[in-house]
Symmetry: C2
Subunit: 217 residues, 2 copies
DNA sequence: GTCTATACTTGGATAGAC
DNA sequence: GTCTATCCAAGTATAGAC
């Protein structure tokens, strides 16, 4: 391996001049993707935001696409960490929906899903990028499936539909809601849906706690 | 008005040299958006596909963005026409889901939703484009809401959730499923979801025909 | 090893030919 | 009115300076 676009930086020096530059570029790449989209995320635009020379992108990452993938990685890993904490506390379906609402709101406000959406849509224009992006979506699907299995375990809905398929739909809906919210500059309709989901989850739970509670009328 | 980018072509001549060029360009714009994405839909790329000079795009449409919007319009109106026919025959929720499946499959295969997705994602990079695209999504939402109201009218689910909110979710899911299917080059998971929805719709109908059927146990 | 100055390519837009 | 030749800006990538 040892390709030119990935300097080793072996020394024990703690500062890490190279690492700092890389960090700045990745941060700028995230911001640029969010506000200018994939088509606007050029080497020049990103470098300007990072306050560095555009040539550095090719030295440190080999290509713009590679830098954007690094940006996607950074966002993904940061989010996964947060998700992991939240989902550990989830038991019932109602709690799951509540947690999902919180996560969605903060993801939406921070523009994390925007990065994902732009990379997916942008992948069409850069050969080979699609597979890389697809691989980075897998953890999101796996996470969703995991959360669903934990909270729907033993529930009727869980018996009716494979958790893998539900997870696929959840991720798709997540992406779609971001697109519409972002486009219209209005997160309200999407959040209204989560409110509905919470109501339905509550209703669903009371309906199916046990069939025998019915006779207590 | 009478802006330079929109020639009048007033004469009664049926051929329409200008109209033909415009048609070719719009067609090529659709194809290019589908296979190269928004970032790859440059004037040169589109013109090459159309077999014409790239300068014609600016003469006929004023800018690349305007041509892409025209392409989106063409796709939208073509689809709306087909949708209108299909939904007229829909009565029950089960039929609605069945019709939605057919529509989704053909839209997916023909790449129509791809055009929508690329335009939404691409809008971030071109000032002013977002509002134009948003306006062109309205008919899709209105159509979905209309179809939902027709088939859910009087049903319990219809009473539980506002049709406008369901429509929003449906459009979002539609977009998200396209993104994932396109990215992974596999439409199977998305179609599996529609199959589940059909099963659930059938189950839902038998469960809620009338509450009094329960006593017949 | 890190970064900058420069080379070359592609893209948007228009002046002017027909 | 329709189209083409041409211009300049913006993009990627690298040769070479430090």
């Amino acid at each position: 391996m040892a390709k030119p676009g990935a300097p080793s930086n072996v020394a024990g020096e703690s500062g890490g001049r190279s690492a700092e530059t890389r960090r700045l570029l990745i941060e700028a790449a995230v911001t640029t993707l969010q506000s200018e989209g994939y088509a606007g995320a050029s080497a020049r635009a990103i470098a300007e935001r990072a306050g560095s020379n555009q040539g550095l992108i090719f030295y440190h990452f080999g290509s713009v696409a590679n830098l954007l993938l690094a940006a996607l990685d950074a966002v993904s890993s940061a989010r996964m960490e947060r998700y992991g904490e939240s989902v550990a506390e989830v038991g019932t379906t109602g709690e799951l929906v509540e947690t999902a609402t919180d996560i969605f709101r903060s993801d939406l406000d921070a523009g994390y899903i925007t990065v994902l959406v732009e990379m997916i849509a942008g992948a069409s224009s850069t050969p080979g990028l699609g597979a890389e992006v697809a691989a980075r979506i897998e953890p999101w699907k796996a996470f969703a499936q995991d959360a669903i299995e934990h909270s729907l375990h033993g529930s009727p809905l869980g018996a009716l539909l494979p958790s893998e398929d539900i997870a696929y739909a959840v991720v798709a809906l997540y992406l779609g809601l971001e697109m519409l919210s972002h486009l219209e500059g209005d997160r309200q309709p999407a959040l209204a849906l989560f409110a509905h989901a919470q109501r339905l989850a509550a209703l669903f739970e009371t309906m199916t706690v046990t069939p025998t509670t019915r006779e207590a009328k």
